[in-house]
Every structure is written in C-alpha cells, then in structure tokens.
Amino acid sequence: MAAKLKFDSVKVGDEIPKLVIQGVTRPDFVRYAGASGDFVPLHYDQTFVEAAGIPTVFAQGMFTAGLLSKAVTDYVGIGNVRRFQVRFATRVWPGDVVTCTGKVTGKVEKDGEKQIEGDLIVLNQKGEPAIRGSFRAACA
C-alpha cells in the first residue's frame, strides 16, 4: 500500500510490474471528466467530435496518466513519489487495451533521501506508445 521499496534490493534495469487495463470505456472518460474537472468535450461528446471530423471520443491524456501513476504507486508505495512526468504521444480510444510499465534507470541520494529514478511507458494493444514518462521516488 504505502510501504517503501528497500533501496538496496532495487537494481537499475528492474521492471515496474505491468498494469494492464482490458479496454478503456467512454464511461471511464466521463468519470474522469467529473473527477478532474476537465470538461473538454473531445472526451465525451460524440456529436461534438464528429463535427470536428474525429471518428469518436478519446481519453483525456491525464486519465491515461492517472492509470500510469497507479502502476508507479503500486510499485513504490503511495506517498513516496517525488516526481512524475508524462509526455503524450498517440491517443487512447474506447476499447483500447492499455499497458502501463517502466524500468528503473538510476539510484540517487537527493534531499537526504535514497531515491530511485525510472522511465515509464503506456502502450496500446498495437504496441504504440500513448505516453512516455519518467519518475523519481523515495526508498527505505
């Protein structure tokens, strides 16, 4: 839940356990809109997106980033993330299977803490990156 990773037991190259979401849905986007306050209609209004020439609604980038953040906190424990960064690549569509994962790239001492750094990625079912990101987290 919130337990820190043991710094000495983490190795550069260690993989973050994969988090797979079997098909994101339009209701997921609606729920995220309400939770976050991001009411850009591209993410829930079919009439609006069709008028804009887009086939259907797609996920808020920050919804997908939220799924990715769970993969990170499942690994490092809630309360231990010191930095989390995401860059958006391809869009995530209803029905997409989303896989969140990452890798430890470094071990550092920062602000009097033992910390690990890593790269993050979210892939769709075609293997295309939806997000590339990075993180830093405190360890015990």
Partner: protein
C-alpha cells in the same frame, strides 16, 4: 502566436481545499482501489493522513478562474494540445489541507513539428504551498500551439 514577453506573467493566488470525497472520486476515476484513499485510520497509520493520488493536483481546475490563470501568452486556444505534464513533490499533501497555488508562464519556445508545421510551446508552472506555508508541490504543464489546426 505566443511571444517570449509572456514569460513571467503570473496569475492571482488561488486556494484549494483538499476534500476527501474528491480524493475518493479521483482514485476511483483512475481505477485505484488502494484502501489508503478510503480508510482514514489505515491512512493515518501508514502515511500520517489520507494522501492524494499523484496527479490529483489536476483537480485545481475546480478552484481556479480567469484571474488565477497567467493566460496562454496569446496562444490560439483552438490549436492548443496538452503535450506534457510534470509534478514534483516536496512535502506530503493530505485531505484537510488548504493549498495556495500560484501559476506563472515559465517558458515560451518554438520548434519545427511534424504534422502541424511550426509549433510553439508554453510552459505553465503552478507552485503549491500548504496552510503551514510549506512548499508542497510544483505542477508543470507544457502546452503546444500547432501551426495549423490539428488533424485527428
């Protein structure tokens, strides 16, 4: 077209109350059933209070208005994409905290893009302090203005 003169422009400070029902709603929205967001006693024991999800500061949208925004540096908002987002955390944020956020335009720069021609980037940075005056977090959003309307 944004220009460099927008750098440093600052919005009015805004308050943000960290509310438990909003934290629970947000945790559900990102499909995180971790009991630490839902069980106050457990949270207190584990991390000293009910924590917030990593990207929870996005909900500042409920607390800001035109006056707290530093603006978009003259960007055409019909051509804006959210390119990148970053959060740095310095102290824990708990349910019950009252945060004060101040947003500023931290950078404006240009790059040649692929699909949309020349792209201008705007980095909007929000610093959060808690009710004790401690700096708790910085949120950094990179917005992209494409040279032409973005195609689906």
């Amino acid at each position: 077209m944004a220009d460099k003169s927008a750098i440093g422009k600052t919005g009015k400070p805004f308050k943000m109350h960290v509310d438990w029902s909003k934290v629970r709603e947000f945790a559900r929205a990102i499909k995180d059933p971790n009991p630490i967001y839902f069980d106050a006693e457990l949270a207190k024991k584990e991390v000293g209070g009910i924590p917030v999800p990593v990207t929870f500061l996005q909900t500042s949208a409920f607390w800001t208005d035109e006056t707290s925004s530093p603006g978009f540096g003259g960007f055409d908002i019909r051509r804006i994409l959210h390119g990148e987002q970053e959060f740095e955390f310095f102290k824990p944020i708990y349910v019950g905290d009252t945060l004060t956020g101040v947003s500023k335009i931290a950078d404006v720069f240009e790059k040649e893009g692929g699909r949309g021609g020349k792209m201008t980037f705007l980095v909007s940075e929000t610093e959060y302090t808690n009710q004790k005056g401690e700096k708790v977090a910085t949120a950094r959003a990179t917005l992209i203005e494409t040279g032409q309307a973005v195609k689906a």
